[in-house]
């Protein structure tokens, strides 16, 4: 039996079928495997209550559960120690309340990002976030992986946009925190705790967000040059009074780009473009290509095998990271590419042989830690992940994180082993 060997002798799946409905339970296939770990069954509960009951049942039966949204990032994290049941939020896909006059939305976790945005656009609004693969990714999935994109520099990341959450815990408890007002300090902020927790504490079933208006006008410019010069320009723009809604650096062997985006009124944009020309001096920009702002997604495409890792550093360190990656990649004959947002979060892609990718990942973990930054391997072949923690070295808060995990999931049933330090 796949999953935790020896844990269960008899699983009474018909009981689960009774809870979620026969039509919502099926046998897992190879396509449902997570990093090669095959589950036995996939459940798609039709309501949050059913999902909570299913979780409680699985908990009682001692089964290992992996929550799943759109399935776009199932390979993120370490391989699970075991997985018996995939619990899908696919059917919890409704936009429950778009209070457009209050600029808030209540949405179920299985709703796809693009579907939500379509609904919000009817009133000229959006969730001001451009995560990966919005056509397929779900709200619960982007929350659990703390995905973000290029808008973050202006509107913050998910932790700044989420104002309420409902979660199902392993014991079947459905709990809420926050609410539908943008300002609220009553009680602990569980929405932040669950954002980025990779489904290891509970299953997100519903979220409430604050919204922003769609921009009136938008214009983007792109500068080219060497990473060092572009890094300096980025810092200059960042310390100016310009109010950009996107600022990113892209680099690959022999080429570098700095993209900047302005949203707002036509007059405001024009004035800002004039100012940026002054700041840039002799460096003359062109209009940024339409695909500049999906570069964080495009970096996931290309030749295999490859490693895509997320890194975080300080804005003044971007050029140093480019140099570091270039050096490490050259030593192993790997192709490389970087796209990083001015807030300090970016992706690096490395292409080449698996052992070389593994070696470079180990180097990056060490070197970025030395710089005070972090790097997490997200997309890569299983062989590259073997023998290391994709999250990098744990901090002195690891024992506290373990205690948090133990309180929420005392038996370690949710996504065991996938999170940092084996959580």
């Amino acid at each position: 039996m796949p999953g935790a060997p020896g844990v269960m002798t008899q699983v009474s799946w018909p009981e689960l079928a009774e809870i979620v409905g026969k039509e919502h339970l099926g046998a897992a296939t190879a396509a449902d495997a997570i990093d090669g770990v095959e589950a036995q069954m996939v459940a798609e509960p039709g309501t949050a209550e059913d999902l909570a009951r299913a979780l409680r049942w699985a908990h009682a039966a001692g089964l290992k559960v992996s929550p799943r949204g759109g399935g776009t990032k199932l390979g993120w994290g370490n391989p699970p120690a075991a997985c018996d049941l995939v619990l899908s939020t696919a059917l919890l896909n409704r936009v429950l309340e778009h209070a457009w006059a209050d600029m808030t939305v209540i949405v179920e976790a299985g709703c796809r990002v693009a579907d939500l945005q379509k609904t919000l656009a009817e009133h000229g609004q959006r969730l001001a976030l451009d995560p990966l693969w919005p056509e397929r990714a779900t709200i619960g999935g982007i929350l659990s992986t703390n995905d973000s994109g290029t808008l973050r520099v202006r509107y913050g990341s998910l932790r700044d946009l989420i104002i309420g959450i409902t979660v199902a815990l392993p014991d079947g408890t459905l709990a809420k925190s926050g609410g539908k007002v943008v300002k609220n300090v009553a009680g602990y902020d569980l929405a932040k705790l669950f954002t980025g927790a990779l489904g290891t504490l509970g299953v997100i079933v519903q979220a409430i967000f604050r919204l922003h208006p769609l921009p009136r006008e938008s214009r983007s410019l792109s500068f080219s040059g060497a990473p060092e010069a572009l890094n300096q320009l980025l810092l200059a723009i960042q310390s100016s009074k310009l109010t950009f809604t996107g600022l990113q650096l892209r680099a690959e062997p022999g080429s570098g780009r700095l993209d900047v985006r302005f949203d707002g009124t036509a007059a405001g944009i024009e004035a800002q473009v004039n100012q940026i020309l002054q700041i840039a001096g002799s460096s003359v920009p062109s209009d940024a290509p339409a695909n500049a702002w999906t570069a964080h997604q495009a970096i996931w495409e290309g030749a295999a095998p490859a490693l895509v890792a997320k890194f975080s550093v300080l804005p003044a360190q971007f050029a140093a990271v480019c140099a570091l990656v270039e050096r490490a990649a050259a030593a192993q004959s790997l192709a490389w590419k970087i796209v990083v947002q001015s807030v300090g979060a970016g992706y690096v892609r490395l292409e080449g042989a698996e052992p070389a990718l593994h070696t470079v990942l180990v180097t990056l973990h060490d070197e970025l830690a030395r710089m005070g930054g972090t790097v997490v391997a997200l997309g890569c072949p299983l062989a590259v992940k073997r023998g290391l923690d994709v999250w990098g070295p744990p901090s002195d808060a690891q024992p506290l994180m373990v205690r948090v995990k133990q309180r929420f999931d005392p038996d370690g049933n949710l996504n065991p082993g996938r999170f940092i330090g084996g959580i």
Binding site: W100, D102, V181, A186, G187, D189, R216, T243, G392, V404
Partner: protein, 482 residues
């Protein structure tokens, strides 16, 4: 408190850092909410992380509860001591440790005064965005604990958005680093949980802040309406037009009268006054300010002024900033509440407040952060009149219930503390509160750090919670010292 423990504290913080005399202890018996007073057994004033850690280790070993204290300006009794415990004041840990302008980070000790952060970086054109009205005196540690807000948080976000990392002494004395200088550190978002936890999860000994560049221009518009409903409609109109002002503040007639009497802000005598601040690129602010003016006129504004200069702007803001204190001129005492409602519920909630207020015969002045629906109703009363304080407490409580019913919150920025903990059981269901307890139990299984605050009922970690029994109406607080 046993002499041997006091001696141990003295050895850690020095004689100058330990207070045990009742007269001196009384300085620490309450925070800004003076209706709750408890004398602690001792107060320690550490000057370093190591000292905080050593003191907390003693507390943990001896099972002595402790309450962290910043500047003591809290309005919900958060820093209220516990009778069998000590207060750990962070006031002497007040150094700005590092300013990193290129990366827009500032590292501070918790006792640093909020405004001092901005003062330090202002010469370089930066500011620290969260701006509680108490920013001249309140501490960053207190801001972190309360997730404090201010008028400009509508656009810039609350304290939690601006805190990237924390050094924390956990209730067992362990030192941990949550978050850091860079964003998205791997692992659980524990800074996100710690900010706003009201001192119940440990003591912050270092805070990494994000600073923001000052906008190119700032303009404030003042608009006079006949009623708060009309002013409220203008707020919705501004937001619906796709604008995100830096601040939108509203005052009703009673609050205007008070402010006029106190600081002669030269406000028009109207039913609803709106202050709208826009900031950003000059060309954009110009255009949008015209649109704001049009929206206001359409909603019935009969006087509109736009302040262009810094001096004009400061004058317009004086009245709003002085409003709380000024209300003290209208009545011997008042209770300030901090409820939040969805913006669109404003007309309904305002008329309900008016109804409740005339039913009990007590006046309510209203000052609020209209952009994010954060009300500060001020319930005026005279404690010399028998029974009026109780009436006022009941009215303040009923206003919070209105907020809950409208889908809002019992507190937008002042925190739950001691004052509103019974209302938590009205706002949240029992499973929600139990789930929050899981967090506390992970950080503080022995319930030593600011115990018995925030949650309606003390619980032991590991205890199986029984059926919740509703408590009688919790006493709402009186805040007289502004």
């Amino acid at each position: 408190m046993e002499a041997r423990i006091l001696n141990e504290f003295r050895a850690i913080v020095g004689a100058f850092g330990l207070i045990t005399e009742p007269e001196q202890l009384s300085t620490y018996e309450c925070d800004g909410l003076t209706m709750f007073r408890v004398l602690p057994l001792a107060v320690v004033l550490p000057t370093s992380t190591e000292q905080v850690q050593a003191v907390v280790r003693v507390c943990h070993r001896e099972k002595i509860p402790f309450v962290a204290r910043g500047s003591g300006t809290g309005l919900s009794g958060g820093a209220l001591p516990v009778a069998n415990g000590i207060v750990i004041s962070l006031a002497r840990m007040n150094r700005i440790l590092e300013v990193d302008l290129p990366n827009q980070r500032v590292v501070v000790e918790p006792g640093v005064i909020n405004l001092n952060v901005t003062a330090r970086v202002a010469p370089d054109g930066y500011f620290y965005a969260p701006d509680p009205s108490s920013q001249l005196v309140c501490s960053i540690g207190g801001n972190v604990a309360e997730n404090s807000g201010g008028a400009h948080c509508l656009k810039y976000g609350f304290t939690t958005t601006h805190v990237l990392g924390l050094e924390v002494v956990l209730p067992d004395g362990a030192l941990v680093h949550l978050g850091g200088r860079t964003v998205d550190r791997p692992g659980y978002d524990l800074p996100g949980v710690f900010v706003g936890s009201e001192g119940t999860l440990g003591i912050a000994t270092k805070v990494i802040l994000r600073i923001v560049k000052k906008p190119e221009v700032i303009q404030v518009l003042l608009a006079a309406f006949n009623s708060t409903n009309e002013a409220g409609a203008a707020v919705s109109g501004i937001i619906a037009a796709g604008m995100l002002p830096a601040a939108i503040e509203m005052m009703d007639n009673l609050a205007i009268q008070a402010a006029e009497a106190a600081v002669q802000a030269n406000y028009p005598n109207c039913g609803g006054l709106l202050l709208v601040e826009l900031d950003g690129p000059a060309a954009e602010v110009e255009t949008l300010m015209e649109e704001v003016g049009e929206v206001c006129t359409k909603c019935g504004a009969w006087e509109i002024r736009v302040a262009q200069s810094d001096a004009d702007r400061a004058r317009i803001w004086t009245g709003r900033k002085a409003a709380f204190a000024a209300v003290g001129r209208l009545a011997p005492a008042y209770i300030v509440q901090d409820g939040v409602i969805p913006r669109t519920a404003l007309p309904h909630v305002m008329s309900e407040i008016e109804r409740l207020s005339s039913e009990v015969g007590l006046r309510v002045a209203n000052v609020f952060h209209a952009g994010d629906g954060n009300l500060h109703p001020l319930v005026l009363y005279d404690s010399a009149v028998p029974g009026q304080d109780k009436l006022a407490e009941k009215l303040a409580g009923d206003i919070l219930r209105l907020c809950i019913k409208a889908g809002g919150s019992i507190t937008g920025e002042h925190g739950v503390g001691e004052e509103k903990k019974m209302f938590m059981a009205e706002m949240y269901a029992e499973p929600d509160l139990e789930t929050m307890q899981l967090v506390r139990c992970a950080f503080d299984p022995e319930n030593l750090s600011n115990p018995d605050k925030v949650f309606p009922r003390p619980r032991l970690c590991g205890e199986k919670p029984g059926v919740y029994e509703p408590h009688p109406l919790e006493v709402a607080g009186v805040a007289q010292r502004f």
